[in-house]
């Protein structure tokens, strides 16, 4: 019998999931569910929207109102859902390719509008489902099936992208620092506006194998050793920062929320009549 948490929020009849041994997606999915549980959100008032890719299979395992949409368009569908029912808690589950390549435009404009949606990006640095092609977050020099001699593109810093585009809550966690990840998702959901949480996860099958990163445990150890909390990172010298990346709450601000502004327009006409 599964744990109470899994029993409560998962469609257990669909488990075990299809993700590969050691894939971190299950850890992120559980973290999201734990955050929802900690906040005491009603399942009926919560909608999970996903795009296409390994990460986006998560919606099929979650026992909420869920919709598994088309590639890159999770935020477009989520925007429609949120505008139709602004009281719903709308959570988007997407991958690095889904959100920043195919759905890059939807991401920046959802952030610009500051619509009250919490987006969790499962960033495994590759297109896992289709066989390990390089994605916009594959580090420069790393290999993919479409970059056999190494990727010459610069990788997106998704958090900086979201911040620049107008998100009012931006944070990054890892599947190693699971308790922190849960807290980040909680705070993202609590933020009234567009929240962006980047969850650094691992793909041992494609990205890991192609780049000789070892097994799942080795890739987890990398996250443990190279992810540095934002407060600690500030105190490091440039030399010590080499190869490290920042985790924690990276940006917070307050701005009018989109569905509330939209409602004001509707109300202004109601007053005229």
């Amino acid at each position: 019998m599964p744990s109470n948490l899994v029993n409560e929020y998962f469609r257990t009849e669909n488990l075990p999931h299809i993700w590969c041994p050691g894939c971190g997606n299950g850890i992120v999915t559980r973290a999201i569910v734990k955050a929802v549980d900690n906040l005491g959100l009603n399942r009926e008032d919560t909608c999970v929207v996903s795009g296409i890719g390994c990460s986006s299979r998560a919606s099929g395992y979650l026992d909420f109102n869920t919709i598994h949409t088309t590639h890159g368009r999770a935020l477009a569908f989520a925007t429609g859902i949120k505008l139709a029912k602004p009281d719903l808690n709308v959570i988007v589950i997407t991958g690095d390719g889904d959100s920043s390549a195919i759905g890059g435009n939807h991401l920046i404009h959802a952030a610009r509008r500051n619509i009250d949606i919490t987006t969790i990006v499962f960033n495994n640095n590759t297109y896992g489902m289709t066989g390990g092609q390089y994605s916009p977050t594959t580090p420069t020099g790393d290999k993919g099936t479409t970059a056999p001699y190494g990727n010459i593109d610069m990788a997106f810093d998704l958090c900086k992208l979201a911040e620049a585009a107008g998100a009012t809550y931006v944070s990054r966690g890892t599947i190693y620092t699971t308790n922190m990840l849960i807290k980040l998702v909680e705070n993202g959901i609590k933020n009234k506006g567009f929240s962006f949480v980047e969850a650094m996860t691992i793909c041992p099958t494609y990205y890991g194998r192609k780049n000789k990163k070892g097994e799942a445990v080795d890739m987890m150890t990398y996250l443990k050793d190279y992810a540095i909390n934002v407060a600690a990172y500030d105190k490091l010298t440039d030399e010590q920062r080499e190869g490290k990346f920042i985790i924690g709450e990276l940006y917070k601000s307050e701005r009018p929320e989109y569905t509330e502004e939209y409602q004001k327009i509707i109300n202004s006409f109601a007053e005229e009549v």
């Binding site: 019998m1 599964p2 744990s3 109470n4 948490l5 899994v6 998962f10 488990l15 075990p16 999931h17 993700w19 590969c20 041994p21 050691g22 894939c23 971190g24 997606n25 299950g26 850890i27 559980r30 599947i175 190693y176 699971t178 308790n179 041992p204 097994e215 799942a216 445990v217 987890m220 150890t221």
Partner: protein, 68 residues
């Protein structure tokens, strides 16, 4: 499914869901777990401090602290 009891909580393994990735084994602070025949096995329950790290990081929901 195997269960083993210590104090109030119970460390539960859902063997059918375990894919043997070894993440729980590697990051258990007290070396309670091992992989045997491709699945997680509780080898030293007496050392378990019930921190729940295995449950937090199991990608397959195959191990957890259950019971009351």
């Amino acid at each position: 499914m195997t269960t083993a009891t210590k104090t109030k909580k119970t460390l539960v393994v859902e063997e059918n869901w375990c894919k043997g990735c070894g993440i729980c084994v590697a990051f258990c602070p007290k070396s309670v777990l091992e992989i045997r025949n491709g699945k997680v096995n509780i080898k030293d329950l007496d050392s378990c401090i019930q921190c729940g790290q295995c449950e937090l990081r199991c990608p397959d929901y195959a191990i957890y602290l259950g019971g009351d």
